[in-house]
């Protein structure tokens, strides 16, 4: 077993660039998009109907003061072109005392922006009207300002247990999603060595050697596991200690989840080895299947987005779903062993099933 493991390591040492590039690019992708997701949504606004630049800038200031979205003042032509070509959902046309939301097709998803722009415009117009009819506009504006600072009504939000509500951190979710996704590739790439050795004839020579079958498999799987774990461990360590993402203080717990997830991935890799015939085929199937996994598990969207029972059922079979749940639980919700038991047990179940079926199929094919 050790010999097989070391043989893989020797091959790696001889040309380490491929796997290093794989891991490095995977982590880079994760960091770039994880950081990008933290940004606010941004919308284009443009001055229409001869609105003067200072007035337009004032409206943009008021809109941005809300802090919910970012509004950028750009030229009319570019704003409209972006909408037309589907690169922007909408653009806001500013007028002196009115506005229009311009969109390619009437899309209800833009309701939130409309709502915000309407609120800002209406409040400002009301304020202006009220100030104009007041005896002393300056004094009146100051009064309003003062009263706004002590609002009579508030909305408190709490979680079911009375504590702070758990905020889903989308940037953190994407960080985990991409890490878990790219490590599928890394592990798959390594498990593919089994297929490569079979097609190059090394496998047959190993069978003739005194090595037992179990040892050959364990050596390969152990090696893939180690590379996969290294990928996740380095990625998580970088996120936490170098880039300062708030992934919590329980780095060890995350590693436990990562280990079980990696075992499941190795097992899925074995299943694919059983299902395909050449290393190239394996690669193609792996890439397509892996691309579908985060989509099925809903990893790219806020939780609760997917409500369809069939898809939720399908996502139960995707290891990424459970690893994601466990990691987010640890980082955001203080999950303890009790809460982690369910997702980890499901991961192990997937691992056992895939491994069993996969190795069986590989063995059947060789006879």
């Amino acid at each position: 077993m050790i010999a097989v493991f070391l043989a893989q390591w020797q091959k790696e040492k001889r040309s380490p660039y491929a796997i290093l590039l794989f891991i490095a690019l995977g982590i880079m992708l994760t960091i770039v998009f994880g950081m990008g997701a933290a940004k606010k949504m941004s919308y284009a606004v443009y001055a229409g109907d001869g609105l003067e630049a200072p007035q337009a800038a004032e409206w943009v200031r008021l809109l941005n003061r809300e802090g919910k979205f970012e509004f950028r003042l750009i030229e009319e032509e570019r704003a409209l072109r972006d909408v037309r070509e589907g690169r922007a959902e909408l653009a806001v046309k500013l007028m002196a005392e009115d506005y229009r939301i311009v969109m390619a097709a009437d899309n209800p998803a833009n309701r939130e922006v409309e709502e915000l722009v309407r609120t800002v415009y209406n409040e400002e117009l009301q304020l202006r009207a009220a100030a104009a009819s007041a005896d002393d506009p300056q004094q009146y504006l100051e009064d309003v300002e003062r009263r706004l600072r002590q609002p009579p009504l508030a909305l408190e939000i709490e979680a079911a247990d009375g504590g702070e509500p758990v905020r889903n951190d989308m940037s953190l979710q994407l960080l985990f999603a991409f890490t878990l996704y790219t490590v599928i590739m890394t592990v798959g790439y390594k498990v593919n060595a089994v297929m490569e050795e079979r097609s190059s004839g090394v496998w047959d020579r190993m069978i003739l050697s005194p090595l037992r079958k179990t040892e050959i498999y364990l050596g390969h799987m152990g090696y893939s596991f180690c590379i996969g774990m290294t990928h996740i461990a380095v990625a998580l360590a970088l996120f936490r200690y170098v880039f300062g993402f708030p992934i919590g203080d329980r780095y060890g717990m995350l590693l436990v989840v990562a280990a079980i997830y990696t075992i499941a991935l190795v097992a899925v890799g074995m299943l694919l080895t059983g299902l395909t015939r050449t290393p190239e085929q394996f690669g193609i199937v792996l890439q397509i299947a892996a691309a579908a996994m985060p989509l099925l598990g809903g990893a790219y969207w806020p939780p609760g987005t997917v409500t369809n029972p069939i898809i939720l059922a399908v996502s139960e079979f995707v290891p990424l779903t459970h690893a994601m749940e466990a990691m987010k639980g640890i980082a955001l919700q203080q999950y303890g062993p009790a809460e982690l038991a369910a997702p980890l047990a499901k991961l192990l179940l997937i691992a056992v099933l895939c491994m069993g079926v996969g190795i069986n199929m590989v063995e059947r094919r060789s006879h």
């Binding site: 690019l25 037309r84 959902e89 005392e97 009504l153 809903g298």
Partner: protein
Amino acid sequence: MFVWKDLLLFWRDRKGLVLLLLMPFLMILILGFAMKGLMEGSPEALRMKAALVVEDDEASGIERFRTELRRRSLPEAAESALAASAEQASPYTLLKRMMENEEVGKFVEFVPMDAETAHTALESGEVKAVLTVPPEFTYKALVGMLLGEDGGAALRLTAGESPVHVDVLQGMLNGFVRSLNFRTALGEYGRPDAEPALAAGGVESMTDAKPMNSFLYFTLAMSVMFVLFVAGTTAAKAFAELRGRVFDRVLLADRHPLRFLGGKAGAAFCVAWLQLTLLFVLSHLAFGLFPGRPFSFWLGLSAINAVLSIGVGGFAALLTALNFRFRSSTASSMFSSIAVTVMALAGGSFTPASLLPDWVMQIGVWTPNGLAISLYTLWIQGFAAVDMAPSLLKLAAFAVLTLTAGIYLFPARRRVA
């Protein structure tokens, strides 16, 4: 003809071919259904029940406020004006009016419950959130609103497990709270006043096209993403031929090596075009994407497919060249895993491009799949060819660039290993 050989190679690996052709269709089906409600913003998808727990008694709150007014011995007129406003502006009445609003009713059904039942219902997921009106709410709020004194009152929203739903509800309640606070600040609740003129606002659509439904969106998004896999697949198959010494035999037969490369690009083009066409036709049949469109519409669609497929052919040539040059299939693996993910994300295949950060969108403008999505979008909305020209040219330039790079990098002479 090398193209024919390469097409036969695809045909021999039918399992892979089916995966390449049908996996995206499966994804369109699944994601289309999953995101249907959300993308169309239909209330049904977000419809929820929320528990309403009232621990305050409105009438006694108003009464207590009146008593407080009398205690302060204000001028007669002022006192009666405030007492009258208390009746009209009682925040709980305003809240109820908001909840009974037709628009709000489409999304949320408020079910009155006591605190205990509400908690159980929240745990079981029967209600998505609990709105609590705490004791003394009316009185405290009125003191804040009408007498301008510190303190005030707070509504309490207990959030359940589904952020999407809670966000909708929270948005509505925040809107209510904000409007009430703002009107208080304007001093409207003290004096009856005429409504000021408001912005007319409104929405202008650039076309009379319907919003993209989720099936149409995912048909575009998944097609342009999965078509990229054709390039990686072709290059991987080419590498298998290098391994199996097919390429050596091609050279021994005195054929120019670039003809081999040409075969790869040609086959990738054919498979990509076939895949795109098949996906559009299948999705149209299954979900009725383009009802009553004339033949010329399909012709145009097919032309965009062809241009995108040329780009895929170019990619296939480039990746084949890289695989041969480095004598390993790492280049095509890397492309199919990392590069496709980056392009899919930046080009808007996972979420609509407009939801992405600005700089990602700027990258997306230059990816073949992103360009293709915007071309399809323009064509479906019925824009003229002039509007499509820039993207079309970029996509064509892309194809030429990758093809040239592929030809340049392809090892023309086989080195002896």
